[in-house]
Amino acid sequence: MIIKDYGIIVPGTVSAKALASDMPLSFWGGVDVETGVIQDVHHDLCTQNMAGKVLCIPYDRGSCSGSGMIFEMIRQGSNPAAILCIEAEAVLALGPVIGKKVYGRSMPIRTVSVDVLEQIKTGDTVTFEEDSIIVLSD
């Protein structure tokens, strides 16, 4: 699948395996900051590791501290390779914005429609190109 209709919240190109769910996630309380493992027992990705993956979720939710978690994950290298979602509120974007300034490391974030996001499955290869997003089925 080649996606041309998307939004860029945080710029950058990347290619990695998808970790996908239709449930929103709170980074604070929901993720182990050292490993990137999801620990929210109410989430269907609980025990899965997001480090180095393209995390595909509809939205974030919950705590405003999600940004501090992502910032620290970027410092440690346990962050997802990228986030693909329907709407990215500021709690998701702040970590990569400060991470770029302080540590020179960021994390691209792009948005797509719900119909597109629903087609992406865990294990698919997701590539953020300069002018498109390419999804190859597992």
Binding site: G62, C64, S65, V91
Partner: protein
Amino acid sequence: MELTVYEQEMLDGKYGEGYQLAMEVLVQMGELYGAKRFLPVRNAHIDAAAYTTIWDAGTEFLEFLADHDVKVPQPTTINPISRDIVHWKELGQSEDFAMKSKRMEDAYIKMGVIPTWTCAPYQCGNLPKFGEILSWSESNAVNFVNSVIGARAERLPDLMDVCCAVCGRVPEYGHYITENRRGDVLFRLEGFDDTWFNDMFDYSVLGYYIGEAVINKNPVIDGLPESTSIDQIKAFSAAAASGGAVCLFHVVGYTPEAPTIDAAFQGWTGYETKIVTPADLIEMKRKLDTAHQAKHKELSIDGHPAEGHVDMVLIGCPHASFVELQQVADLIKGRHVKDGTEFWITTSRTQYDLACRAGIAEILSESGVTIACDTCVMELEEGNRWEHQTFVTNSGKVAQYAPGINHVFIKMASTEGCVHAAVTGQFPEEVHK
């Protein structure tokens, strides 16, 4: 973004690298979210206070600002930290971890932040005015002041809240803008008799239910009783911001921007109506209760079967008010927390001092209740001292986060049920069947 002369000077570094870094972050974030300008603020509350929320990266960021002589220009209160500043040793925290918290505390105090260390600043001397533009963070607090007071706040991410507080500016986006404060979905409560909504617990379950249903939209709730108290709406607010990312809700006839349904929707009539029934909330509570899973862990403490045994009772998320402390003291007076069970209440040191003056703290302490100030059970050291244990709580926010953070099982209960659980060590009866 269009900047004023003063804002441009901050960005250009005229006042030093600290303000410059903060302003660079704000301009970038403002542009990402379509803000055309900044709004000046006279009141700030910072969320990024616990070591277990911003870690070493956040600490280094704060120290950079403090070392560059950045000061907050307006009164600025702040969230709980990762220790009780007086009793951290008694509460079992290590020196190493306490000092990590102290590093952050020192940076904030150097910046002129008022060390309230509470997530309910609106019950601790920082009570905004209707319509006031705020630089606030902390999901429960933002939801509360937006909705219950009608002040204007947005869910500022941790560290962006710090940048806003030091620059005295917020980008004009989201819920600062009148049109974005319009209700999106109407929730009509039907079939609830007078056994409902007498306790914070029902409000927690309703809040979580609505939060999960709307995620980041503005819900309008019709049908809550007139008797709804400030602490009850606080519980609703916290749970709605945990189950979803609710930043503003309207309760018809209760919150100031919703004298009528029409006002809540700013005259718009295209909204969807959802009916909420007792069965929905009973089902929601079942989902939040994870305690039934504990029996599979073959836990047995003091000969009690794991199912039904209570290891810990937790009240005070968000931080308990004076009124909540008084309510628990009235319920537990003359009784004692059972051996093998802990009962913690988390609160601000300000509320605790008031409780001392009224003799309430003494009653609680004689009954075996642990009062932890300045902090939060979910922000203490990652020692997992409660791992695999069962918590009873009246808080939807605890029900959402504690299973992941503290690796515990949850049983939700009313405040009265929580006290029962603490003194008997057993689950209370279900209020709604």
